[in-house]
Symmetry: C2
């Protein structure tokens, strides 16, 4: 049965690639108001595609920002319903001079499709549309019910997605969600992403004297805010990478031996080479893979105080600032962690300075599905069939806000079917996507929809 | 005998003030090459003044930068020889719009003379010249032998002074030096400054990954350079303001009870009010006056890493930098202290980062004369006579490089006869000098030259 669908994809490959190129040629840069109409145009590309292949209720939903596309095919009686999420907006292409070909004139070189959005996320979103087309044009139906939600604001923080999903909760309700907006740990290695980290942050400002002071005249009277801040932030984490804030680890789920095995088996970067560090320094008792994927982190993202120019300026700075964010794991409540760190900073603030902690308003809970969940096991088998290699199961140190939104609103599993590779240059010049993953990825999707339908 | 000289000063006050105004009207900004000729012009003002009152061998000595003035009167057989140091260059006047009157059109308001250089240092230098004139015009001689060295590069670090003094060491050799380029602890309070701090510095750079990293993907693998640097600099000084670098205090002269008494008796700022800090935080076991005047300090002058803009950017920064300087006290060798801190920083550098310490090339030893030294006691008496108040003895947390140069080259005591006040706005808009100190200060100098001559 799948043969017919796969054959259709092979026979229509050039035409579908051509359509993807038209999609990629629209400079739908959501952050740039000059491209407002282009974002809408990319939305209509999706609308038209869905209508053309037989989706119903296809509509460009207005929001106070860029619109989002809804469409559905709900005729698979008795079968589960999936919510497909994707996005048709892209990052800016600057700096343009670093691109080897025009970011909005797609070009194939070395079996990769070069264009802004080829991987993130027009390319991966298009693969789903193309697979739906193949089913509709060959079998006249989809294996399961499908609702589609493709937005135009992912690259600017999905500003209005939550409102829309909340307002029209019944419309978007499904049994599980499916997203292809991530990647594989390496090219050719099927990868099941079953967990994401949460997020919280804050900014701490230490103020000493009311102006920068002569260090000779006032050194010994005024506490140095940069020194005070250094002591304060050093008290947040020890050199074994253990967060020293009381209560920080209270609700952290312990990693099972099985999970640790899965993570350590997954191929990954040789950090010493890829980012040029002398050695990795994970939390004591954990490997770098375990820490990056599944242990919480606390990082200084920025820090500044006093004179930053050439040479010496002998001052006691008036203020010192540190920007701090945490990546959280399942069990940790972002608000509670933010409060623990805030309280700790106020508590360790030394005499002679004033401390102000400003909470970062954005936050997210961590997300995790049991890697043994049937929907993930089916995904793993679909990947293995197409790529002829066993899938690895990993968690991601980063956050994908939409996953937390869907989890929170609909309480359904989110299956992350990522086809990107580490070489895709997301958000950078010369973004590209390997054609092998375009072909095999669609094969995965065909298998997966059928696997899910099989029950 | 001094009556005649003092009367001369009173009778010639308006004319001498007029001459000072001419001196102040020359915009001799040494850092600005547009004012190169003005600096020379100010030098010639001094040359002409000295020639006019009968000094010998008066000359504008060329240097690769701005010239310096030499002159002498050496006919006081058997009397000691003093080297008078001063400078005729000034700081820039920017920002001009903050001046209430033109910085180079001297104006008297509220018994203060407003002009750039009125206090630092044309005004104070001129007072010596005027006193020399008074002696020469009334008694036909000076009480002691005088060599004069007035330079034009003080505000740009006395770039060529050391070379000149070294090359012509015999010419400038004297029994003691006299400098009026500092101030009194408060207006009306005779102040004997008998010690200055030394100086050393360095810049430490911590490098982690070869670029800013995504904190989600790499948090847990890469050591955060800002966190590493915070731990490193926090290990330099504890919250009791004690420097934790081994050996730092090895050669520090202990303060005698008598010195502590002298310092604590001196009037001083109420720091909570003057610089707006919640409380002073001196080194444990010392008062803020003792620490600022006579205990060594270690300060972070600047520190920076990663993102400094609005909001949040979730990165692990590639590098972190701290600029650190120390003020040193007698006994501490700047090079040794620099090496101790450098060695300590390398020693505490955590795994996973690379550390580079760059030494600051400028340094200075601390300077101190025994407050009981006869030349200082005579100065104290001269102040008391003129101001009708007992002098206080203080040390300064800052450095005056020329004092260390003279100390090192000639090994003679340096008597600092400062007449400025904390309200003079040195290096700032609306610099001014109190006329009371112009009058009484010259009285001090008359007394002092006679006291020294008395032997």
């Amino acid at each position: 049965m799948s043969e017919q669908v796969l054959t259709y994809l092979k026979e229509n490959r050039e035409r579908q690639l051509q359509q993807l190129n038209e999609f990629l040629a629209i400079p739908s840069v959501s952050t740039d108001s000059n491209h407002k109409d282009d974002v809408v145009k990319a939305g209509y590309f999706v609308v038209n595609y869905l209508k053309e292949i037989g989706f119903k209720n296809v509509e460009l939903h207005k929001t106070p920002g860029h619109p989002l596309v809804y469409g559905e095919w709900m005729e698979a009686e008795g079968a589960p319903t999936v919510l497909l999420y994707g996005h048709y907006d892209v990052q800016p292409a600057d700096p343009l001079e670093l691109w080897e070909s025009d970011p909005f004139s797609p070009e194939i070189r070395n079996d990769r499709l070069y264009a802004r959005g080829s991987s993130d996320d027009k390319g991966q979103t298009f693969m789903h549309l193309a697979v739906f087309e193949a089913f509709m044009k060959t079998e006249g139906r989809l294996p399961i019910n499908v609702k589609v939600c493709i937005e135009g604001e992912e690259e600017i923080g999905s500003k209005h997605l939550y409102e829309t999903l909340q307002e029209k909760k019944d419309l978007f309700q499904a049994d599980f969600a499916m997203i292809s907006d991530s990647g594989m740990v390496e090219k050719g290695q099927p990868t099941i992403l079953y967990g994401l980290k949460g997020f919280t942050g804050l900014e701490v400002t230490v103020t000493g004297p009311n102006r920068d002071l002569h260090s000779g005249i006032y050194g010994g009277a005024a506490k140095n805010p940069a020194m005070a801040l250094s002591h304060m932030v050093a008290s947040l984490k020890n050199l074994d990478e253990q967060v020293s804030v009381p209560g920080f680890y209270d609700d952290v789920e312990e990693l099972s031996d099985e999970e640790r095995r899965l993570m350590n088996e997954a191929p990954g970067e040789v950090y010493e080479k890829s980012i040029g560090i002398p050695e990795v320094t994970p939390e004591a008792g954990y490997t770098a893979k375990e820490h990056t994927m599944a242990r919480p982190t606390l990082e200084i993202n920025g820090m500044y105080s006093g004179y930053q120019g050439e040479g010496t300026k002998t001052i006691i700075p008036s203020t010192a600032v540190a920007k701090i964010t945490c990546r959280l794991v399942p069990g940790q409540e972002p608000d509670r962690i933010q409060k623990l760190i805030t309280d700790h900073l106020y508590k360790v603030a030394p005499k002679g300075v004033r401390v102000e902690v400003k909470p970062e308003p954005l936050s997210a809970r961590a997300y995790k599905v049991d890697p043994g969940h049937e929907l993930l096991q089916k995904a793993a088998r679909s990947y293995s069939d197409a790529f002829d290699k066993e899938a690895v199961f990993v968690r991601l140190g980063g956050s994908i806000p939409v996953v937390e939104m869907i989890d929170q609103l609909f309480e359904i599993p989110v299956v992350l079917l990522g086809f990107g590779t580490p070489e895709d240059n997301l958000h950078s010049p010369n973004e590209s996507f390997p054609l092998e993953n375009f072909d095999k990825g669609m094969e995965v999707l065909v298998h997966y929809l059928q696997e899910v339908a099989r029950g």
